[in-house]
């Protein structure tokens, strides 16, 4: 857009000019905002020609003399290198090669101080020079137009050329624009506006031809529509030299008025073309490419002479040197050597500056090398570049805004930068500041404005980098979370699948087995009841120890019990299949059965009621009476049954069925006695061997348990069959057979309890002797006791089951005997329960429980706090110790509370035992038994419903009712006992 603008007025102008005076008038020069006129100080160094720099002992070549990625070393310490040999190659797009500036030996590759305001070290290649300055074999290109631009760009890249004006941007990037990018103007920057520097001035004066050749190469590469050279009007010799060299070619020399910072890229573009490069844009985006004269010269040397960039013209100036001037310095020459070469005047150097005074930086180490961008070294006396005066408050004079070449508001930027208000500073285009220093130069308060901007820019960059890093961290964090969640979901899914498979297997298993064989069923039932018992035991232990998971254990036990019941029912169903089917055949038998069932269940209920009364104490007189009534009714029923049995004495079918139960009973006896034997054996062994035979004992106990279970199973079968079978048959055999198992059982019970006692004794002995397996023995004893209890319970059941038949004969006695049972037991319970004490204990128990809970909670919290503190290291060692002490205290408190609680629970349990004559376990067992019996009966009823006659059904339902009441009573007794002692939880 500005191209026609600048060419249109030129045409008529030049025509007019030719017509008018015959001389070519200078093209229009635009202006940019602001700018200053600092003392030029160029006279110090521009009077003498360029002389070669020193050949120092050592050259230090930083791997990043340019903007972009550091070059990658191609040599190792000890390698011999020749002048111009590439010693580091460019890595990545934005990079430049490095060549040995002279021949010598690589002595080290390592950190050395480099040209950076931070004064930090960076990796450098150190070359010990050999003084021969021997060139590597090299050859220039006679006619660069033979080569394609791409080849030339590569050559420039590998010649290590980077912007010589001061920024050091790799030239190969700047001259390698894509085909789509049309270059309108190629600008050659020969302005050199900063004070003191005269390197480009001298270069133009002395080597104008070579510079122009370099510009031609640039033209070939970029194919611009116009090429302009901008030179400040304070360099007349340079202007004339360049003009001479440009004669006859399409390069326009434009003289710009002296003003700092005309040499800034954007400012020069504006001066010569009138185009403004917008904020954030590159010059190429407005069709302009800007190159320094020094760069053009280096390109010529690289392309035409085959010499890579190994030296540059550097101005050495300042009061501190006696021979200021321009030196063609080998790259890597330490400033120290250059100063020596320039004859350090022996003055006190106030300041050593690399670059110009406006944009350069102070060197604190003279060992820093001259690099590709070093256009000037100022060794100034304190008078020349004095220490800056103290910063004063801003007086808002606005001078800075007047001189800002970038059209910014330096004062606003200053405030925002000072207050770290980076967002606002950016809003005021902080990043467009070119750090020229014009604002600071004019500031009457001597505010180091540029430093503030540099600081703020650094912060902005840091924040941007942090943000990038934070985003990356967030991504990684979220990805990780997602991954963990997915893993967990998969795990859960697998678990669910496994559970599902197990459940299916379980469901399919029993159904199949029930049809297969009774033996397997029996085994399953045994296993189930074993598991149930173990669970109950575990729950008991847990209860005794006051463990937290009591409820869980109980639930588990209940579940197992249900399973066991199911299994048992299955076994019984399988076994009873035949008798049950046979039963409804005979009407009279059914009736008898019904009556016998009634009587027996009533009797059982009465017994249970008596037990309940025992547990409940004196309050339940009414219940007792009701029990007595039931009993009477049962007696009546028995009478009626007896009558009928007498009337229908010769019932045909019975004997066949009877042989079975008899055999079974016999078997039971055998089993029971073997169980007894093993129990005794186990007890004896425990007694004899004391400590060592834990494993053996366990095996023994298991055997015993298995035997007991077996016995129980058989007994139940006998129970199921006995009441049905005996009545219709002759009374004689039953009366002979029936007492037998009962007696055997009694004997078993006695033996078992003896075994238990022996085991307890053994355990005590072991305790006293401090044997290791005392706990084992104790648990063994507990097991034996459980067996004994079980046997006792079985005996009771057997007794309950047996009486109907023997008592059927002496009907009269039954009526009188039966009621006596509860009445005998009632007074006992009346005497023993002390409700007041129980209530007191309950209260205390509750209090203790709360106390324990509180203490435990506090302890947990304190512990957590301690761990947190430890992890975060937020607390000092003392604090941690104090916390530890506190935790210990709390723990002790919690333990005390728990001990007290345990003691009280034990006491309560003992009380229950004392009051009810049996412990909680027995009560629970009874309740469970009653419930399972009820469940069995219900199942039976369900099965019979379709096949059996009405009478049978009636009998069954009445049995069921009786069982139900029985169960309820048992439950109630248990509940009461538990509640009474405050052990409900």
């Amino acid at each position: 857009m500005s191209q026609p603008q600048s060419s249109k007025p030129r045409k008529p102008l030049s025509v007019f000019a030719r017509l008018a005076s015959g001389i070519r008038r200078p093209a229009k020069i635009h202006d940019f905002h602001g700018g200053i006129h600092p003392p030029e100080m160029k006279h110090l160094s521009n009077g003498t020609p360029i002389v070669p720099g020193p050949l120092p002992q050592q050259l230090v070549l930083p791997l990043n003399m340019h903007i972009g990625a550091p070059a990658k070393p191609l040599v190792a310490p000890g390698d011999k290198v020749l002048k111009g040999q590439m010693i580091a190659e460019p890595i990545g797009a934005v990079s430049a090669a490095i060549h040995a500036p002279t021949s010598g030996t690589v002595s080290a590759i390592g950190p050395r101080p480099i040209q950076h305001p931070s004064g930090m070290d960076a990796v450098c290649i150190v070359i010990d020079t050999d003084g021969e300055d021997q060139w590597v074999e090299h050859q220039g290109i006679a006619d660069y137009t033979d080569k394609s631009p791409a080849e030339l760009v590569d050559l420039i890249r590998h010649a290590g050329i980077a912007g010589m004006g001061g920024a050091g941007f790799p030239t190969s990037i700047k001259v390698n624009l894509g085909d789509h990018q049309r270059v309108e103007q190629l600008l050659i920057n020969a302005v050199e506006c900063e004070p003191y520097i005269t390197a480009d001035d001298r270069l133009m004066r002395e080597r104008a031809e070579q510079i122009v050749t370099g510009i031609h190469i640039l033209q070939y590469l970029l194919n611009p529509r116009r090429t302009l050279i901008g030179i400040e009007d304070n360099k007349p010799e340079a202007i004339s030299a360049i003009k001479r060299a440009c004669k006859g070619c399409d390069i326009e020399v434009r003289v710009v008025p002296t003003k700092y910072p005309s040499g800034g890229e954007k400012q020069l573009i504006q001066l010569l073309t009138g185009k403004e490069v917008a904020s954030g844009q590159l010059p190429a985006q407005v069709g302009v490419v800007c190159q320094n004269v020094g760069t053009a010269y280096a390109i010529k040397r690289a392309v035409c002479d085959g010499e890579p960039l190994v030296s540059r013209v550097t101005t050495l100036t300042g009061d501190g040197v006696s021979q200021p001037g321009n030196y063609e310095v080998l790259l890597g020459t330490p400033v120290r050597d250059l100063l020596a070469h320039g004859n350090l005047a022996g003055l006190d150097i106030g300041r050593l500056v690399m670059g110009g005074p406006m944009m350069g930086f102070t060197l604190h180490n003279p060992g820093v090398p001259v690099v590709k961008t070093t256009n000037c070294i100022i060794a100034a006396s304190p008078e020349e570049l004095p220490e800056p005066p103290p910063e004063q408050p801003c007086i808002r004079c606005g001078s800075c805004a007047e001189v800002c070449p970038a059209n910014l508001l330096p004062q606003q930027l200053y405030w925002h930068a000072k207050n770290d208000d980076l967002e606002k500073a950016q809003h005021h285009n902080l990043m467009d500041c070119i750090e020229c220093g014009a604002c600071a130069y004019v500031c009457p308060s001597h505010i180091p404005l540029v430093q503030y901007y540099r600081y703020a820019k650094g912060e902005v960059r840091q924040q941007a980098a942090d943000q990038v890093k934070a985003d990356k961290a967030r991504q990684r964090f979220e990805a990780r979370q997602a991954r963990i969640e997915q893993e967990q979901a998969e795990k859960e899914a697998r678990r669910q699948a496994r559970l599902e498979a197990n459940r299916k297997k379980k469901e399919a298993g029993p159904a199949a087995a029930s049809t297969v064989d009774v033996a397997a069923l029996k085994q399953a039932s045994l296993d189930a009841s074993k598991a149930y018992k173990a669970a109950v035991k575990a729950a008991k232990t847990a209860e005794a120890e006051g463990a937290d998971n009591l409820a869980e254990l109980k639930a588990e036990a209940d579940r197992l019990k249900a399973l066991a019941d199911k299994a048992k029912a299955a076994v019984r169903d399988a076994k009873d299949g035949a008798p049950v089917a046979a039963a409804p055949a005979e009407d009279t038998v059914a009736k008898l059965k019904k009556q016998v069932g009634d009587a027996s269940s009533a009797y059982k209920a009465a017994v249970k009621a008596a037990k309940a009364a025992e547990a409940e104490g004196a309050d339940n007189v009414a219940e007792l009476k009701a029990q007595a009534d039931t009993l009477k009714a049962s007696a009546d029923a028995l009478k009626a049954e007896l009558r009928e049995a007498k009337a229908n004495a010769p019932a045909a079918t019975a004997p066949v069925a009877q042989t079975d139960p008899v055999a079974e009973l016999k078997k039971q006896v055998g089993d029971a006695s073997s169980a007894y034997k093993s129990a005794v054996k186990a007890a004896k062994q425990a007694e004899e061997e004391g400590a060592d035979n834990a494993a053996e004992l366990r095996a023994e106990a298991d055997k015993l348990k298995a035997a007991a279970d077996q016995l129980k199973m058989e007994l139940r079968d006998a129970k199921a069959n006995a009441p049905a079978a005996p009545p219709p048959s002759a009374p004689a055999p039953t009366t002979i057979e029936q007492p037998d198992p009962v007696a055997a059982l009694k004997k078993q019970v006695g033996d078992a309890s003896m075994a238990y006692k022996a085991a307890v004794k053994a355990a005590k002995q072991a305790d006293e002797e401090g044997a290791d397996n005392a706990t084992d023995l104790h648990s063994k004893a507990g097991e034996l006791k459980a067996i004994a209890d079980q046997l006792k319970a079985e005996l009771r059941d057997a007794k309950a089951a047996a009486p109907p038949t023997p008592k059927a004969a002496p009907a009269a006695t039954a009526t009188t005997d039966s009621p006596a049972v509860p009445e005998e037991q009632a007074p006992q319970s009346l005497a023993e329960v002390d409700p007041e004490q129980a209530a007191k204990r309950q209260k205390r128990l509750k209090g203790l429980k709360t106390a324990y809970n509180m203490a435990h909670k506090q302890y947990k919290e304190a512990h957590a706090a301690y761990e947190r503190a430890e992890r975060n290291e937020t607390a000092s060692a003392d604090e941690l110790q104090a916390m530890q002490v506190k935790i210990d205290k709390l723990k002790a408190k919690a333990d005390n509370a728990r001990d007290a609680l345990d003691a009280l629970v034990e006491e309560a349990k003992a009380d229950i035992r004392a009051h009810t004559g049996k412990d909680l376990k027995t009560l629970k067992l009874e309740a469970a038994r009653a419930e399972s019996a009820l469940a069995d009966k219900q199942q039976e009823l369900e099965q019979q419903r379709s096949s059996a006659s009405e009478d049978t059904l009636e009998a069954l339902s009445s049995e069921l009712q009786a069982l139900e009441s029985e169960t309820q009573i048992a439950r109630k007794a248990l509940k009461q006992a538990v509640e009474e002692q405050g052990l409900a939880e």
């Binding site: 406006m358 800056p388 910063e391 600081y455 964090f477 990805a479």
Partner: protein, 194 residues
């Protein structure tokens, strides 16, 4: 009377129309999720260090949105507190960094690889998966990904993880802030007209 009726009818009609418009708008321009959480999260430094008491930056952002104090992020420093105060319109609190006075110094974890036993505990602890290694093999930290959160140090059974300060490089170095009014700016070059 009719005037009153007309007025009431008109107002009711207006109410119905505006209600409908608002209802439609609230459905049409419904914002899914809580955008404030996103905004808060973007201000947090994402070190995922858990020093705020939450398992990561986002949970803390959610907690802040629900009213928790916004001064519990030591890695973010006071700047983050200020930024959050501005975003949320809440009072500017002082940073709650008990004992973590050097929180603003960037650090990265460094595993002394000779001592590493390959237990993978640090790998599991790292919230940003910045540690590579396998069981019984030496682990190392991907420095560029490490947020310096410190969480890997504690699980290490052999204490071979150090938190090293990140030294500025030539790329990350920045000019320091001038000392201020009354001080001589040390790096300023005073060009005077002699």
């Amino acid at each position: 009377m009719t005037a009153v009726l007309i007025a009431v009818a008109a107002l009711l009609a207006l109410a119905a129309v505006f209600g409908a418009v608002l209802g439609f708008a609230s459905e049409k321009f419904k914002v899914e999720g809580d955008p404030i959480v996103e905004q808060i999260d973007s201000l947090l430094p994402q070190t995922q260090c858990g020093q705020c008491g939450h398992p990561g930056c986002r949970p803390y952002a959610e907690a802040i949105a629900e009213g928790e104090d916004h001064n519990r992020c030591p890695p973010g420093g006071q700047d983050t507190v200020v930024a959050l105060s501005e975003l949320l319109g809440r009072e500017e609190l002082t940073l709650d960094n008990e004992g973590a006075e050097d929180a603003n110094v960037a650090k990265v974890a460094y595993i002394r690889e000779d001592e590493c036993i390959g237990c993978t505990k640090c790998i599991q602890a790292c919230p940003v998966d910045a540690i590579v290694g396998a069981a019984k093999l030496m682990h190392t930290v991907i420095v560029d990904e490490c947020t310096g959160c410190d969480l890997c140090v504690e699980p290490c059974p052999v204490d071979c993880i150090d938190m090293l300060e990140v030294k500025p490089t030539l790329q990350t170095w920045g000019w320091h802030r001038p000392a201020g009014i009354g001080e001589r700016p040390d790096s300023r070059i005073e060009v005077v007209n002699l």
